[in-house]
Symmetry: C2
Subunit: 328 residues, 2 copies
DNA sequence: CTGAAAGCGCTTACAG
DNA sequence: CTGAAAGCGCTTACAG
């Protein structure tokens, strides 16, 4: 069964391809008789016509694909949810999201030249060369930033603020000697380092000793060793800010392994609010992020990049907040 | 900066577009002088030529996009890893994976007609109408099956076997009164029901009483209620097979809430081996699935669908196995 | 071994 | 208000 084309619709409806195109695209500034319009629409419907994305792309030099470039780190439930919402939001505008995991750090050029996306959206920073090439080729680029960023096309989730928020919560609970549990995976450094910087800055601000930092991989031994280090000093650590919930859950296991009480001896706070956090022993206090809002904002950013007119919306106020549970 | 086309390469190298195309595509059955070949290749390289996917698609009627259709359920780390591996494996063959989450259950027709993917790969079953339409349009369809399946283009991960494996492990540990913790999310039914069927069948096979089934959502209250139900009978449940690790972690919390010992009073086994399983209290026994192998198999299936010649590879023997930890 | 030409399906100046 | 025609970049019969 060959493809139904706009030429078929034209022939079948008795109008020219031009008219069919005008009707189907509701081309602005072109006036079409209502009866003509109806007849074309009806014919297209009856024939099951779907425009060819390839032909449109070839013609316009731009597809309706949004290329979403993920950095190499493990995606995890949060980014997962983000992609989900973003895909749904952009689908309403006829845009499809093509997710590309940039493992190997190869240049993106081959991919975006081949796909000619209408926008490239990066969840991590782009390589200098890639950014330049895309700019030169006139492909709009949008993305998220890890820090506060003056560029409006960038959605900034200041990672440092997350760390600061963790500290604020722990201090509120009466703690003064804090530690930071960093992830063992180097690919997370871009996030982890910034969150740690936030923890450090907030500690300094509040006149607390600098946080003791240990890397914790996702097993009991590693976490247990970290806890040993944190508790060995003259002024033992009483609260741990973890990079994320998975690391925090490992820390909980490490603390339990030492026979210490949570939160009486050691309090722990994570980031992400993954499902396992709620049912941990004890239930894990964590930082919740407004993923939906972030996704909506990113979607709006993409649309704004496409069509200069529509401004990105105002930022949501509640980007993240602490969900207090039994671990602090 | 306008796009570099094959015409540019032709002009610049002094050959015709035909020759350029032959060289660049290494068209089989066409013999090209080595010096010509080199000159064309060198020119293309120098100009930074990348073929236009849109034009190729329009010409051939088929893009190099693989449309991966996910069912509506939460993706989770396992599917996540699967997508990751699949994307990498297919990228080596010049194929890009377009992930589409089929929320809302809308017909897929508009999407695949627009994108003209070279293969549609489904991780869940397709709607009858969609499957028929794609077949009629000549688009190869591949996918995974939830049951053993005679069709070679389908990768079957028999969900029932996972349930059976859970039961076998629990029985090996000396348990005879078993329960099944089903997820509260109905979208998971396709998986959950099959795994439960496997649990039931294996219990029957071994002459055990039928498993008591409770739905468990991902919070302590729900899990606690399920545990209460399981323990209330004359013959209290001593072991729980959970739908997946997240449900299993909730069950652990429920058991702890009742002050029962794990695994002495109640043993728990999950599925997936998520990072949180290893650091749970106690460490969670679970069923590990060979995601890499599944992804490789799916990739091979896609390639086979594209090019009749290459057979899908032999199945990996070790599709899944139990990782025994402290919870059983 | 290489080239001129047609056509994939679409949109949009340009005429009428 | 509607139509004939060109062209986006590619591949592939068809000639030479």
């Amino acid at each position: 069964m060959p493809r139904v084309t706009s030429a078929d619709v034209a022939r079948e409806s008795g109008f020219s391809r031009t008219t069919v195109s005008y009707v189907l695209n509701a081309t602005p500034g072109v006036v079409i008789t209502e009866t003509t319009r109806q007849r074309v629409l009806e014919t297209a419907e009856r024939l099951g016509y779907t425009p060819s994305a390839a032909a449109r792309t070839l013609r316009s030099g731009r597809s309706d694909l949004v290329l979403l470039v993920l950095p190499d780190w493990t995606v995890g439930p949060v980014i997962d949810a983000l992609i989900d919402h973003l895909t749904a939001a952009l689908a309403e505008h006829g845009l499809s999201v093509l997710v590309h995991v940039n493992r190997s750090g190869r240049p993106l050029a081959a991919l975006w030249r081949a796909v000619t996306p209408c926008v490239v959206l990066g969840l991590g920073p782009f390589a200098e060369a890639d950014a330049r090439a895309m700019k030169q080729a006139g492909i709009p680029v949008a993305g998220t930033a890890l820090d506060e960023d003056p560029h409006p096309e960038i959605f900034a989730v200041p990672q440092a603020s997350i760390g600061a928020l963790q500290v604020a919560h722990l201090v509120e609970r009466g703690h003064r000697v804090l530690a930071y549990a960093a992830p063992s995976d180097d690919r997370l450094a871009a996030f982890a380092d910034r969150r740690l910087a936030g923890v450090r800055a907030q500690c300094a601000e509040l006149g607390l000793p600098a946080p003791l930092v240990e890397r914790v991989s996702l097993d009991v031994e590693s976490a247990s060793a970290a806890v040993a280090a944190w508790r060995s000093g003259d002024d033992p650590v009483t609260a741990v800010a973890a990079y994320n919930d998975e690391v925090a859950l490992a820390v909980l296991a490490g603390v339990r392994a030492h026979g210490l009480a949570i939160p009486a001896d050691v309090a722990v706070i994570g980031v992400d609010d993954i499902p396992a956090a709620r049912v941990a022993a004890p239930a894990l206090t964590t930082v919740w992020q407004a993923i939906d809002a972030q996704a909506d904002y990113l979607a709006a950013t993409v649309l704004a990049a496409l069509d200069g007119s529509s401004e990105p919306p105002a930022r949501t106020a509640d980007v993240f907040h602490v969900v207090a549970r039994a671990s602090t």
